[in-house]
Symmetry: D2
Subunit: 109 residues, 4 copies
Amino acid sequence: MNTQHQSLLDALNACVAACENCASACLQEDDVKMMAPCIALDRDCADICALTARLLSRGSEHAWHLLRECAEICRLCGEECAKHAHAHCQACAAACRRCEEACRQGMTA
Amino acid sequence: MNTQHQSLLDALNACVAACENCASACLQEDDVKMMAPCIALDRDCADICALTARLLSRGSEHAWHLLRECAEICRLCGEECAKHAHAHCQACAAACRRCEEACRQGMTA
Amino acid sequence: MNTQHQSLLDALNACVAACENCASACLQEDDVKMMAPCIALDRDCADICALTARLLSRGSEHAWHLLRECAEICRLCGEECAKHAHAHCQACAAACRRCEEACRQGMTA
Amino acid sequence: MNTQHQSLLDALNACVAACENCASACLQEDDVKMMAPCIALDRDCADICALTARLLSRGSEHAWHLLRECAEICRLCGEECAKHAHAHCQACAAACRRCEEACRQGMTA
């Protein structure tokens, strides 16, 4: 795997972990009702990034077909997380932004 | 795949779908804070049942190694869901109980 | 979940199981080298259908964004499987065709 | 996530990627029939490590319940890969050994 692929893979895996952590932490917040949209996006974002990472790791061309959708869910999840001051939301927003950027770079590679 | 394997596979897939549906529906309830433990268990139960289903479908002996853990998470998730009157929780509790039973039958097969 | 969603979900789950079974059975054939493209497509098809099924079960709008890619991998996998006389390949080809059709119906729903 | 958890998560993700890469590369070898057991173990190892990583990321106690099975599949996959001189097999063997070790450390933590 070349450097760019490894960089994309790292961004995807970091985003999966940040989303999973954020969803769990949101469920333990007092204002969990306010966090419901964040939790929902975290779930979808983690799953879509995880699949993209798997396909990329195995050298499947179908990984590239998922990059647009992956970038889009990262954008949506990152924007929602960015609204909340919780540290796990801010960390997730940053991971989503990095992953969205890495996906967009992959789309033009 | 023989009849018992197909029956176990159907129970696993039905449990995955019920857990995913229950988690999403819980997130839209007014009393979402009360549903947080249910949502957390739904996520784990869906993921563990989904992996078990995949390994079973591919004829992997490792599917059988996961049945005890799968039955356990189904028991925990089903007991939590059973506490709540929401239709999605009751449906998920029933799917979890059927899946737990199918896993336990598979363990002794 | 309405009748059409359940029908699509069933087609997706059946396709995942058929692909997993086909990949494992291909690995045990004498002519495994000839089956390598089939195995590779089985892996991607199972993973993409499984994710789509998960997102559909949870009521995520992102499920619909994956239907086009899902139909495409089902078409490719089904066409490859259809070339081989092995019973597991013919069964997988049929499951892929049904799933492709269900995805295409979902895209216009 | 503390340092030990992050180290385990990194080992799991690296193992998933190495297994996925190894399976794909094995399918393109001339001696693919000889690689069939390696491909089969790669699939199971990648899936079990991926689930463990997801549960660990979300802080689920069920991650710890999977560590024994995860260490076991890493051991089996690593031993099979170690038999083959292909660079992708040797790299996968190393990743599996590191992941097995990380899982065993996690079990005693």
